[in-house]
Structure formats: C-alpha cells, structure tokens
C-alpha cells in the first residue's frame, strides 16, 4: 500500500505524519484530524503562549484554583505519578532554572528569584481544577510533545488508518507496522545509527547535541537532575515504550539515573539504549 507523508511546523519543530491507504479522501481527512490533534495539545500546554493552560497555571494557580482542559489534567496527573515513582527525578517544576539558563523565556519576570518547585506542590481538585501550594513554574514541553504524538495516532486510527507513524521532532510512534529505528549519533548528529526495529511502539531520545550552551565558562544542558546535577554531554538516551508520552518522560529519568532507572523502566514496560 502506498505510504503517504505530510509534514507541518508545529510544537516548535516539524511533525511528520505517515499513513498507508489507497483512499485519498480518507488520507486527507486523517491528516487533517491528526494535525488538529497536535495543534490542540500545543494550544493547551505551550509554555510560550500566554493563554495556554500551563501559562494560566503558572500565573495564577498559587492564588486560586484554575480550571484546565481534561487533556492537560491527564498529562499533569501522569507527570505527578511519575515524579512520585521516580523519587522526584522526573520533575516538571524545574522551569526557573531553565529560565535562568536561557532555555525558556521569563513571562512573569520571576525566573531570577523563583525557587525550583516540586511536583508534589501540585494539587488536583474536582472539576479539572488545579491549585499550586506555592508559586510554581511548570513546563510540560517534553511529556506534552509525546502526548501530542499519542493523540495524533489515536486520531489517525479513528479515521480508519491501520498503519502509520507520527514523528514530532524525534518523539515518534509507529503503529500497525514494523519499522527500523534510527537515532542521531550524539557526537556527530548529522549521522544516524540503526538501533533496532520497533513495532506498535513509541520512541523518544534525550540528547544534548542541539541544546548545549556555554554559561560562565561551563557547558550546560537543559537536562537537570536533583541538586542541579547536569547530564554529561556527548551521550544520548533512547527509550522505547508503549506510548510516546511515557517514552519521552522516561528519557529524562533514564538520563539522570542510569542503571538505577531499570526497575522503573520495567514497571512501565519500557527499555532504554544509551549511545555515546
């Protein structure tokens, strides 16, 4: 069956959708539905857009409960569940440090003074409302990108597409077919390496080859662990999991914890590759 491909600039990167069908009308409907699903996630969870759920939470949730979209609620619940099961290694409340290092903008001018918060400071209330126990800066960029991929796959399947894939800037998910998985070599990112085949699985890769910066004479990366531990440059971690949301979230934990992440990865039915 012919493989049809389309790509659009979304989520700050390029989202490529592939699907197999002989029905062009079905293909058009499926592409539109899947890209719409991606746009919906971007609208609700973007750190950069002032009207997104995330921005409204960061601005007000420490003052009063803020009602959010059920999708955002779902992502936050998963994020907090993973924060608990990873003993805080996964933490969506580290935005203040990312702001200080120039990886995120500083919409409320708080970045320089704000302390890093904990996922445990997020309270879930009835009616999809969230309250923060204290001022927090949350950023769900990675996990939301994975969730967007999952939503797009669901949309494709709802349109009757049986085989395809969605790739949002390297967070990808393949369904209905077996596909070779390649990653960029961490020290020569214009070259690729074959890792293995995936089938009805998602993959995400955390690496620092495009996001390293120099700050006060040292290399910093946006992968931050507890006590500010910085992940070494020059390596990349790929997690294969059932959903792209979990694959993305688990790359952060795997990057920080190394072999100690094994039990957690097993629990989520995921596996990891480290390339250096």
């Amino acid at each position: 069956m012919p493989i049809l491909k389309r790509a659009r600039p979304l989520l700050g990167t390029f989202v490529e959708i592939q699907l197999e069908t002989t029905d062009r009308a079905q293909a058009d409907r499926a592409f539109d539905a899947a890209f719409l699903a991606i746009e919906a996630v971007a609208k609700h969870m973007s750190f950069h857009s002032p009207m997104s759920d995330v921005s409204r939470l960061n601005a007000q949730a420490h003052l009063r409960p803020v009602r959010i979209h059920p999708d955002t609620w779902h992502v936050l619940q998963k994020a907090c569940e993973l924060a608990a099961s990873s003993n805080g290694l996964f933490n969506i409340a580290i935005a203040p440090r990312l702001i200080r290092w120039g990886y995120l903008p500083d919409p409320f001018g708080r970045g320089k003074t704000e302390a890093v918060g904990q996922s445990a400071d997020i309270r879930f209330l009835a009616g999809h409302r969230i309250r923060f126990r204290r001022p927090l800066h949350i950023d769900v960029g990675g996990i939301a990108k994975g969730f967007a991929v999952d939503q797009a796959v669901t949309a494709l399947q709802a349109q009757g597409i049986r085989r395809g894939s969605v790739n949002a800037g390297g967070d990808l998910r393949v369904f209905g077919r077996r596909e070779p998985l390649w990653i960029r070599h961490p020290r020569a990112p214009r070259r690729c390496t074959y890792l293995g085949d995936i089938h009805d699985q998602a993959a995400a890769t955390s690496a620092t080859y495009y996001s390293r910066r120099r700050r006060q004479g040292r290399i910093v990366t946006p992968l931050i662990g507890p006590r500010g531990a910085r992940v070494m440059a020059g390596q990349s971690i790929t997690v294969i999991a059932k959903t792209c949301m979990m694959a993305d979230a688990l790359t952060k934990v795997a990057a920080l914890a190394g072999a100690a992440a094994e039990p957690l990865l097993k629990r989520y039915d995921a596996r990891v590759y480290c390339v250096s």
């Binding site: 600039p9 790739n167 390297g170 070779p180 390649w182 995400a204 590759y273 390339v275």
Partner: protein, 176 residues
Amino acid sequence: MPRWNRLWASVALSAPIPYVAQAQTYLTEEQAQQAIFPGVTLEQAFRRLDRNERKTIEKDARDRFLSDEIKRWRGPHGETLYVDRVIGKHEFITYAVGLTAAGEVKAIEIMDYRETYGHEIRRAAWRDTFKGKTVRDPVRIEKDIPNISGATLSSVHVTNGVHRLLLTHDWLHAHP
C-alpha cells in the same frame, strides 16, 4: 556519570560512512494547493519585487527573501497561496502557506527539504562535520529517510518565513 549494565548499547563513531544528504519531498506545488484549498481553482499571480521593495518588507521581517520572485496563487473568494523557500540550520525547506480572504493563516504544509552540503553551510561550527570533504567528494542524496528519533530542528525558520509572507501579503495589497 550514570553507570549502565546490560542495557548498554555502545556504538563506535569511527566507521567510515559516506556523507549522505537527506532530502524528502512531501508535496508538489499542485498537491500543496489541493491539500490547503481542496477543490479550489487557483490562478497564478506571481510578482517580482525589486531590491528596494524587498528591503522595505525585510525591515519588519525576521529573515530575508531568498528570491526576488513571489510565488503566489489566488482563489475566487479571496484565498491566497504562497510557496516560499527558507534556509534552516542546515537544510533548504520549501513550504506552502494558505491565507484566508481575511489574510489569516489557514494552513502551512512543508513541501520538501534538502540538507545542505558542506560548502553551503553558513555556520562555521557545523562545517567541522565536513572536515576533509570537498565539493568533489561523493555525496549521495538519501531519499528513503528512516524514522529518526532524536531532536530534529527548530521550525523557527519556516515560521519566520511565514511572518515575512504575511508582511508581503499586506504590502502587495497596498501596492497592487
């Protein structure tokens, strides 16, 4: 540095790999028109801008025109389609953007991209990956791109291009 045991898969860098320039085509011009304005007959309405006109528009833009020709099509109800090209970090990207009659973005579709060769790269840091290669070295165009996991590039260059096209759209409206 975290330690790994049997989950470790280590890959050596030293294997000699010919440089492969990746290229991908998603849509032709006609397919892009059909994707963005299905069932609509568009009429070609290209315009050429001279240097001063381009510079006027570029004053408020975040990037520059790569060509003096504006590829534009118009529909019967005020729709407009532009096809434009930008340079990303190290690739040329052709894309189409459709505007509604009100001049708002209806859709953006990537039409194709091609990674640049060593001598086309603007940023010195990236030229290092081509050390030892010259224009005469074999370059293979890889059209069968596998699914790659791992950060790809920012779409900022395309969105900057769209921003420039919106300015161009307004300018063309004022200077028919």
